[in-house]
């Protein structure tokens, strides 16, 4: 059994996991973690609950994916609507709300990019910075690529076969170069993950600690917005150069 399941089982007190300190049903003081100790009714999770706390994880970025999955499965067994089909409407509603929150928390933390974006939002409270112009070191390259892409789109199939083929090959090579760059950015993001996880706790020199934190968060934010920009260009390239009928939007972050 892994470290964290033991924590779950021992019912270690957690930060604000439930919406209220009284059972919604029997009004007795809450002693259990997710269920009332007296009437055994499921309790609603607080809407303010952050995803790390929800999944019983420290606010770190390199996380134990297997532990994450085990906790998710264990909590799903606590909350899933399939196990509340015969219960009253109140419990059904709580089961639905809790599971929807749990599913969102799991989905967000499972994906490294979403996890980082979520952490930045949680720590810095800032909205996602959407980049609209290319990162400085990519400026010329992207400009040329956009022109080629425009020309490729304007040439309909059938005419200027050679030029089309030439552009197609060039765009495909560009796509590969950008994918490599994106992978490189993800590596750098991982480095920031380790820096974040190594930051000292709250107790030691609050001001200095905060400055360090902010530096890491800003660094990650920069990488993430550059990555999003590159990813969108890659998606455009994929959409423009893949054969018709295969143009579903890519759902990956």
């Amino acid at each position: 059994m892994s470290e964290h399941t033991r924590q779950l089982d021992s019912g270690r007190p957690r930060d604000l996991p439930m919406a209220r300190s009284m059972c919604w049903h029997c009004q007795s003081e809450m002693t259990g973690e997710y269920f009332c100790g007296r009437c055994v009714k499921v309790q609603p999770l607080s809407k303010e609950l952050d995803y790390f706390t929800c999944l019983n994880l420290p606010r770190k970025l390199n996380l134990d994916e297997q532990a994450l999955e085990e906790t998710f499965y264990a909590l799903s067994r606590n909350f899933h609507p399939d196990y509340y089909a015969t219960k009253d409407e109140g419990e059904k509603a709580i089961s639905l709300g809790n599971t929807a929150l749990l599913n969102t928390a799991y989905r967000t933390l499972k994906d490294p990019v979403q996890r980082a974006e979520y952490l930045i939002r949680l720590e810095a409270g800032s909205a996602k910075d959407i980049r609209t112009s290319p990162p400085a070191d990519l400026f010329d390259e992207i400009l040329e690529l956009q022109e080629d892409l425009e020309e490729f789109r304007s040439l309909s199939a059938g005419e200027s076969v050679e030029r089309r083929q030439e552009l197609l090959e060039k765009l495909q090579a560009e796509r590969q170069a950008l994918e490599t760059r994106k992978a490189h950015m993800e590596e750098r993001l991982r480095e920031q993950f380790s820096r974040w996880d190594a930051l000292p706790g709250e107790a030691e020199g609050a001001a200095a600690a905060q400055a360090q934190k902010d530096a890491v968060l800003t660094g990650m934010q920069e990488i993430l917005s550059n990555r999003t920009y590159v990813k969108n260009i890659v998606n455009d390239l994929v959409a423009a150069t893949s054969p018709a009928g295969d143009t579903e939007r890519n759902i990956w972050h």
Partner: protein
């Protein structure tokens, strides 16, 4: 806890199953048959469902409805290119197809409800108690409107639909229960009208769907149509008969094509024969499996793209799939099996009957909902992205496809103009950029207090529940008041329509049962008369003259009985017939046996 049954409401066949003490069991009909053909005959004398309706189909195609599942949650424009294959006229009201039969029209949920009622009766007869709760399966790739239509069908049939569950996922439950599998599995589900592929991760009793994809308009029906088209061309060229001009002939050709397709799964060639009306002769052709496969090659190929999409969405390579499971009657076709095997590089599983596995899985899910099974838990996903229309006719995605359900997304809305009192919201489902390329689900108007522009703040929560269906709630952030949202479905019945269809179905229920018994008895009597006359021709020389006369008298009495609306009388005459024909039947059987033995001897001599 009242019993909950699991129902597979299929395009071609439907089944009902329940959890017995030793596991899920399909409930059989009176004659031991598991499948109820999803066919409804709306005769002048009442309703026929299943096998009797299938027999009635070639007699009166314009009053017999089949493959109604293809119309669920659809408008006429959605099915325009396949209208020529259907013998009935379609209309549309409020974005919902209405099938015209005689003077009346029926919505697809009403017709599906007739099939569900038949299954409900079958389950009640077997289990000895009233059944009011069910789990009903739908193709995983069904959108919200199609799921809602299925739920409406349940309501109209007097069933509380406790859960709408995806067919491939249901199949995985049945397999998982049987084999205690762990790892990644791919469920390839090709039925009569729909195709689904689902990728799941099985671990410690948790069935987590990672991705699903499919095509709700691709299945056995489409394979049949390719063969039908070829036969229509043949008949026109060889006999100068236009099959499309005769609905009865069209249905005969369709049923023969289906039979030929099924035979070609086991045999390398099959003879197809259709007798043409008006003494125009008989169309005969031997189809080889290769010829048939050549006709459907592109359709088979169409199942491959969704598989690749699903794998990519699951973040897996084909090599990582531990097991492949085949579901649905169409996966009996060797060409499908070899194509699936080639894609995944694994021999697919088909240990459980592909026709029954979905119903069995629905029964397993029913057991979970009833609280009888806490070992297994299904975590399913929404198959399509959900979003709203934004400026420039673009869809803005709120919930991405393959998100684990239940799930919710919140969106804040405000006003553009001072004093504006409403905000129109258009909900969409699909994967494309532009509104027009996605499916419109519903429209609603948010009520907003008249205030300066951009001051009101209304938060709307879009929640997809465990059935994969949308629920919308809204609350005013300034006042904290929640408001009810009146949704107008784009392709669905209104609550009032469903209500009135439920009432109508109750009203006619008693009448239906009586009429049905009469029609079933008459259909059976017709078949017996035909068979007896045939037997008399063959056996006239083998039995005494007085016996022939008493059989003739029996036929006349049975025929007279069928002119009256009394099923008991008809049944009594049928029983009489069985008595007087008993000796003839035995004699013929002996003769046949003797013939068979003699011909065997003859062949042995020749060898």
């Amino acid at each position: 806890m009242a019993l909950i049954v699991g129902i597979d409401l299929g395009t071609t066949n439907s089944l009902v199953a329940h959890m017995a003490n030793d596991g899920p069991r399909v409930i059989l009909g009176a004659r031991g048959q598991a499948k109820v053909p999803s066919i409804v005959g709306l005769t002048d004398n009442g309703l026929l469902v299943g096998d009797p309706a299938k027999e009635y189909l070639v007699r009166d195609p314009s009053r017999t409805i089949y493959s109604v599942k293809r119309f669920m949650g659809k408008a006429v424009a959605d099915v325009a290119d396949e209208l020529k294959y259907f013998p009935y006229t379609l209309q549309e009201k409020g974005g919902v197809i209405r099938i015209q039969v005689g003077e009346k029209t029926y919505s697809p949920p009403q017709v599906s409800a007739m099939i569900l009622k038949e299954l409900k009766l079958r389950a009640e007869a077997h289990l000895g108690e009233e059944i009011t709760k069910a789990v009903i399966t739908v193709p995983a790739y069904f959108n919200d409107s199609q799921r809602q239509a299925t739920k409406d069908a349940g309501l109209i049939a007097g069933l509380e639909v406790l859960r709408i569950i995806n067919e491939p996922t249901a199949a995985s439950l049945a397999y998982g229960l049987q084999q205690n599998t762990q790892g990644y599995i791919a469920v390839f589900d090709l039925g009569g009208g729909t195709f689904d592929i689902s990728i799941l991760k099985l671990k410690d009793g948790i069935f987590e769907v990672l991705a699903t994809n499919g095509n709700t308009h691709l299945g056995g029906d489409d394979f049949d149509r390719r063969l039908v088209d070829a036969v229509i061309r043949d008949i026109d060229a060889q006999h100068g008969v236009k099959v499309e001009d005769s609905p009865e002939l069209m249905q005969t050709v369709r049923l023969e094509a289906e039979k030929t397709k099924i035979r070609l799964s086991d045999e390398s060639q099959a003879l197809m024969a259709v007798s043409l009306p008006g003494g125009r002769g008989t169309y005969e052709r031997t189809w080889s499996r290769e010829e048939f496969e050549a006709l459907i090659l592109d359709l088979v190929e169409q199942t491959m793209t969704p598989c690749r999409h699903a794998l990519s969405d699951a973040g897996l390579e084909t090599g990582q799939i531990d097991e492949v499971v085949l579901v649905g009657g169409s996966t009996r076709m060797p060409v499908i099996r070899s194509r699936v095997q080639a894609l995944f590089g694994k021999t697919p599983h088909c240990d459980l009957n592909p026709d029954e596995v979905v119903a069995l899985g629905a029964a397993v899910q029913a057991g979970i909902l009833a609280g009888e099974n806490r070992e297994m838990l299904l975590l399913d996903v929404t198959p399509l992205s959900l979003g709203i229309e934004t400026m420039g006719n673009v869809m803005s995605t709120l919930i991405r496809r393959n998100t684990t359900i239940p799930t919710s997304a919140k969106e804040m809305f405000t006003t553009y103009v001072d004093g504006q009192t409403g905000v129109d919201i258009h909900v969409l489902q699909g994967e494309r950029e532009l509104v027009k390329d996605n499916r419109s689900l519903a429209r609603f108007q948010l009520k907003v207090p008249p205030l300066p522009a951009a001051v009101p703040r209304v938060e709307v929560t879009f929640l997809i529940d465990a059935n994969g269906m949308l629920n919308v709630t809204a609350s005013d952030i300034r006042t904290g008041e929640s408001q009810s949202v009146q949704i107008k479905p784009s392709y669905g019945l209104t609550d009032e329509e469903v209500e009135s269809m439920i009432r109508e179905s109750f009203q006619f229920a008693a009448e239906d049962i009586r009429a049905r018994q009469v029609i079933e008895a008459k259909t059976e009597a017709d078949a017996i008369i035909m068979a007896t006359e045939k037997a008399l021709k063959r056996g006239a020389d083998l039995i005494p003259a007085e016996e022939i006369q008493s059989i003739r008298n029996g036929i006349e009495e049975l025929r007279a009985a069928t002119t009256q609306e009394d099923h008991r009388l008809i049944r009594a005459r049928i029983a009489d017939m069985e008595k007087v024909t008993h000796h003839l039947a035995e004699t013929l059987m002996d003769a046949t046996l003797k013939e068979a033995l003699e011909s065997k001897k003859l062949s042995e001599v020749i060898d």
